[in-house]
């Protein structure tokens, strides 16, 4: 009876597998082939062309710097937010709802929001003018102000992408029974010790997921950068986009795409190794 029906699970899973295969694996293989071939024969030409490009090194440096600046800050903010909201009784849902609003906004829209704030005639300059801090409109997003531009992009990215980290962290914190923290408190651990010695180790799985997800997304940053900095701040995905659309060179664009994938995979592997999750040491 049960044996006769062992194909049912496979049947039910088939559509999703087929769907993924068609829309993910096939394009992936095509992209890899596109990146490492030239006129139908295998060739490193695209990769060489990519590396020879003047924006190549800059886009790698910018992407990494941005990731390095954004991800730790996001994690720290998310931990603080998650810990704070755990102490709240009534109104908790509302607070979480407000905090996750940025999740519902597309990254391009988020970029445009921050553009309207930071452009020369934007709200930020109006505020500074109104307070008499500056005499005339300052520019924050031009190629002459790379530091300000970097900060602007980082702030916009932090604003946009912290919510997802927080959601994962809050879910992780909810998994830790309060008795662990209370036991630590009874046995003399202060708030700081409890956080470092009890809470943080017990939410390792959530930390790991949040870091992997957020880092991979950070390497794929594009729309916010494009809205705020245009071509003044080249990043990897931006370069792929330019080679694809402006230069109509699909091969080099594919090479960039493969490079981003390799970096993301490497980052994931590093996190998996660095933040080992041993199911035996979890609640």
């Amino acid at each position: 009876m049960t044996n006769n029906r062992s194909w049912i699970p496979y049947l039910l899973i088939l559509p999703s597998v087929a769907f993924l295969a068609l829309l993910f694996i096939v394009p992936l293989l095509q992209t890899i082939w596109l990146a490492f071939s030239d006129n139908g024969v295998p060739s490193p030409a695209n990769a060489q062309r990519m590396m020879a490009d003047i924006n190549f090194a800059r886009s790698i440096k910018n992407t990494f710097l941005l990731t390095l600046a954004v991800v730790p800050v996001q994690l720290a903010i998310a931990l603080v937010m998650g810990t704070m909201v755990a102490k709240v009784g009534r109104g908790r849902e509302t607070i979480l709802w407000v905090w996750t609003i940025p999740l519902g906004i597309s990254d391009l829209a988020a970029g445009l929001v921050w553009l309207s704030i930071l452009q020369n005639s934007g709200y930020f300059n109006s505020l500074l003018l109104g307070l008499g801090i500056i005499e005339r409109q300052a520019s924050w997003l031009s190629y002459q102000t790379p530091v300000a531009l970097f900060f602007a992009i980082a702030v916009a990215e932090i604003w946009r992408g912290t919510a997802i980290v927080m959601v994962i962290i809050v879910a992780g914190l909810n998994q830790v029974p309060r008795e662990f923290r209370e036991a630590a408190e009874i046995f003399g651990a202060g708030a700081w010790t409890r956080f470092w010695r009890i809470t943080l180790p017990l939410i390792r799985p959530a930390l790991q997921s949040a870091l992997i997800l957020r880092t991979v997304l950070a390497f794929e940053v594009f729309a916010v950068v494009y809205a705020l900095g245009g071509r003044n701040f080249p990043v990897l995905v931006g370069e792929a986009y330019n080679w694809q659309n402006q230069n109509q060179n699909y091969g080099v664009a594919a090479a960039y795409a493969v490079l981003i994938m390799i970096i993301s995979l490497a980052a994931t592997m590093i996190y998996l190794k660095a933040i080992k999750v041993d199911p035996e040491r979890l609640p």
């Binding site: 029974p177 036991a183 630590a184 408190e185 009874i186 046995f187 003399g188 017990l202 979890l282």
Partner: protein, 353 residues
């Protein structure tokens, strides 16, 4: 000195009153159980003593000093949680050592204390394992060892055995008693299991709906329940309550009528422990209709009715009574609890031995 004084503690959650003016004094080195059904406020009271919860009003004194407002770690106590709360990311050794590490104890002292506590609880061979590798009973031992390792003045335990299976519970109960007797720590032990409370405690505080109904030694609470609730909650089978008419201050019970307390009206509730009876010839005793007779080996359990009210009594297994019999029971006047039908409280006369 680490006596504990609980002084008129109240606790409300919103409009719900979980504790309604609870007062209780626990002497230095004493083992007191908070016994009561689920939801009666035992855990809430324990958490207030521990400092994990703030009371709405009232005061807690440990060793004569008010600890209200002090954080848990400054109260000199240790606690064993119902679900153990043994840290899963630390080895058993580090778990037991946790409190000492927090006190910044020297390594040599930590080692000595951990080994001593582990020895008492027989967990030496698990010291470098992680708790998830251990059974419930072993984790329980780790939790107790962690609490004893800091040599607390006061030990709080919240249903520490309730997650264990029956056999293990019995074993751990005996062992806890041995360990705690030698430690001499002032202990408050929360449980809903009356046999645990009876077996372990110097005194029992029986709680019901946020009120302490009675405090006394296990024998006193068993023999002289202050309220109908206490009599019904403690003992297996529970105390029988039979409403009987009072005529001229007496209650008819066969040949020898019983003297009812002076304060009673026309009726009184006769609280009768199942084993405080003797078989008597029918006319000479209180009449009982036996519905079911169950020979249990050690005793004979009879279920039936007296004055058409359900009762359970216990006779020696040497007696022969069959289902359907009508028997006479001779009651021991000294072991009867008289209760007011109105208040459900026992009359003070019954308390005087």
């Amino acid at each position: 000195m680490a006596n504990i004084v609980i002084d008129r503690i109240r606790k409300s959650f919103g409009t719900f009153e979980a504790l309604k003016e609870v007062s209780l004094t626990i002497n230095d080195g004493e083992f007191v159980s908070l016994l009561g059904p689920s939801g009666c406020g035992k855990t809430t009271l324990l958490r207030i003593i521990a400092g994990l919860e703030t009371s709405t009003s009232g005061d807690v004194l440990i060793g004569g000093k008010s600890v209200t407002g002090l954080p848990p770690k400054e109260r000199g106590l240790a606690m064993v949680f119902q679900n153990y709360a043994v840290f899963p990311h630390m080895t058993v050794y580090e778990n037991v050592a946790f409190g000492l590490r927090m006190q910044k104890a020297e390594d040599a002292r930590v080692k000595a204390q951990v080994e001593k506590a582990a020895g008492l609880l027989h967990i030496e061979q698990y010291l470098d394992r992680y708790p998830n590798k251990l059974s419930g009973g072993q984790r329980q031992r780790v939790a107790v060892a962690r609490a004893l390792a800091v040599e607390p003045k006061v030990l709080l335990m919240d249903e520490p055995l309730s997650n264990l299976d029956a056999l293990l519970r019995l074993e751990m109960r005996t062992e806890l008693k041995t360990v705690l007797q030698s430690a001499g720590t002032t202990t408050i032990y929360v449980t809903h299991d009356q046999t645990e409370a009876m077996g372990l405690s110097d005194r029992i505080a029986v709680m019901h709906n946020g009120v302490v109904e009675q405090v006394g030694t296990p024998v006193d609470v068993y023999n002289y329940p202050a309220t109908r609730f206490v009599g019904g909650f403690i003992g297996n089978p529970p105390m029988n309550f039979i409403k009987v008419p009072v005529t001229n201050g007496q209650v008819a019970a066969g040949s020898e009528p019983l003297m009812a307390p002076k304060e009673t009206g026309d009726e009184v509730i006769l609280g009768l422990r199942g084993e405080a009876v003797q078989l008597a010839p029918l006319q000479l005793g209180l009449e009982m209709k036996v519905r079911v007779a169950e020979p249990m080996g050690s005793h004979l359990l009879l279920t039936g009715s007296i004055h058409d009210q359900p009762v359970r009594v216990i006779l020696p297994s040497s007696e022969t009574v069959r289902s359907g019999d009508v028997i006479g029971l001779k009651l021991d006047p000294n072991r009867i609890t008289w209760l007011s039908p109105e208040s459900g409280k026992s009359f003070p006369a019954a308390m005087a031995r």
